[in-house]
Amino acid sequence: MEEVLLRATGLVAGYDLPVAGPLDFDLRRGEILGLAGPNGAGKSTLLKALWGGVTVFGGQVEKATGLAISHQAQGFADLRGVPLTGRELLALTGASPAGLPPWLLDRLDWRLDRLSGGQLQFLRLWACLTAQADIVLLDEPSNNLDRAGVDYLADWLARSHADQGFIIVSHDLALIDRVCTRVIQVGAM
């Protein structure tokens, strides 16, 4: 049996008040777990609860010791006007440019505010996706991506990543169906 990286038991999370859960699941190396559910079900909140980014009101999260987690959040800081290149952005998370789609590789030394919205989103996603990590948390990764970007992401995820576990929150059911090895439905509280 594959190694369990993380186990959530009766997890209830929120901010001032609980907004998500209870939820039970575990994540093993090599697995791509999808969290699906309606808007407002608290899927993003549950992702943050896995590393202590929100208040856990009930249940618990157990993780293997020494795990590195990479979290791609749904909202990103506004990068307009900041003289930062794609290569510098990737270096922040320690991500590698190797494997980037060709339509981004030749723009790595451009300022980010010269990229299209889709290119910028893919680069931000790539920075978290390929950072050194045991667990990769992706929150609505296909948002703002064009079809080519979604296809590239799905193909990349579909390749073997036996030493990592992924959790994907997405309203894009086609992407969830295409890449996830297991899907958990998250209902509103």
């Binding site: 590393w51 990479s70 922040l92 978290c128």
Partner: protein, 263 residues
């Protein structure tokens, strides 16, 4: 116009003091702008000037008074982080009011007040130069170490936290460094010259820098070149340094902006 003054040994110490600051202040400004906190620079400078004036009235070294006031301001900024720009505006009003009242009511503070507000850096002495050199030597490596953490906390806050990294201590350290550097600059080259060097070179660098690293270099280059030109102009035409520096830096920003708009 007396160009001989430019090579007068009397002005070497003030020039070198300002030159070091003109290279360092824009770097501080790059990170303040990154965090949308450039207004904090003006608050720190105003607090430092009020602190320096108060120290003078009490018979303490102005440098120490300015540094303590700016450190208190940076601590207050950290504690009142949620207040954002409101906190800076309140600090500026408090410091400006206190400074002007000290100048108006205490004869000792009057001359020093004018030097701080007008930016008469020709009164800068070897003590200032030594302090600025030591601060530069200490701050530059720390800034280099904080660079990645400050950028990560700005652009990937969840990634940063999920890694188990707490951005708080780094941000607090940066605020303290910014407070000390701006306080030294305020006491050495005046309130608005210090603010202009924190604010304008990064404004140009954000617009024209080809990368973050190049932007840092560009900001420092604009700061030192603008400062040198302003120093020479103010000396040659016997004008107060602060206003000349501020106007010259704004012109540096406007001229390429107009050209690129025409293109």
């Amino acid at each position: 116009m007396n160009l001989d003054l430019l090579v007068d040994p009397l002005f070497r110490v003030p020039f070198l003091t300002g030159l070091l600051l003109a290279g360092l202040l824009p770097l501080i400004g790059m990170y303040l702008r990154l965090r949308g906190e450039w207004l904090a620079a003006l608050a720190f400078a105003q607090m430092a000037s009020a602190g320096a004036l108060l120290a003078m009235v009490l018979g303490w070294p102005m440098l120490a008074g300015g540094a303590i006031a700016a450190l208190l301001a940076s601590l207050a900024k950290g504690l009142a982080a949620a207040a954002g720009a409101n906190a800076y505006a309140l600090m500026m009003l408090l410091a400006w009011g206190a400074g002007v009242l000290l100048v108006a009511n205490h004869p000792l503070a009057e001359q020093a007040g004018h030097a701080l507000f007008d930016g008469q850096l020709y009164f800068t002495g070897e003590g200032h130069l030594l302090a600025v050199a030591l601060i530069c030597a200490g701050v530059l490596p720390v800034l280099a170490r904080l660079n990645r953490s400050l950028l990560l906390a700005r652009f990937f806050p969840e990634f940063h936290q999920a890694r188990g990294l707490d951005a708080g201590p780094g941000l607090m350290l940066f605020d303290l460094l910014a407070g000390v550097v701006i306080a030294l600059a305020t006491v050495s080259i005046g309130v608005m010259a210090a603010f202009a060097l924190v604010f304008v070179p990064p404004l140009v660098a954000y617009r024209f820098g080809r990368s973050w690293r190049a932007g840092l270099g560009l900001a420092a280059a604009i700061g030192t070149a603008g400062y040198t030109a302003a120093f020479a102009i103010s000396l040659a035409f016997d004008q107060p340094f602060g206003p000349v520096c501020a106007v010259f830096l704004v012109v540096i920003f406007l001229v390429p902006g107009v050209k690129s708009d025409r293109l």
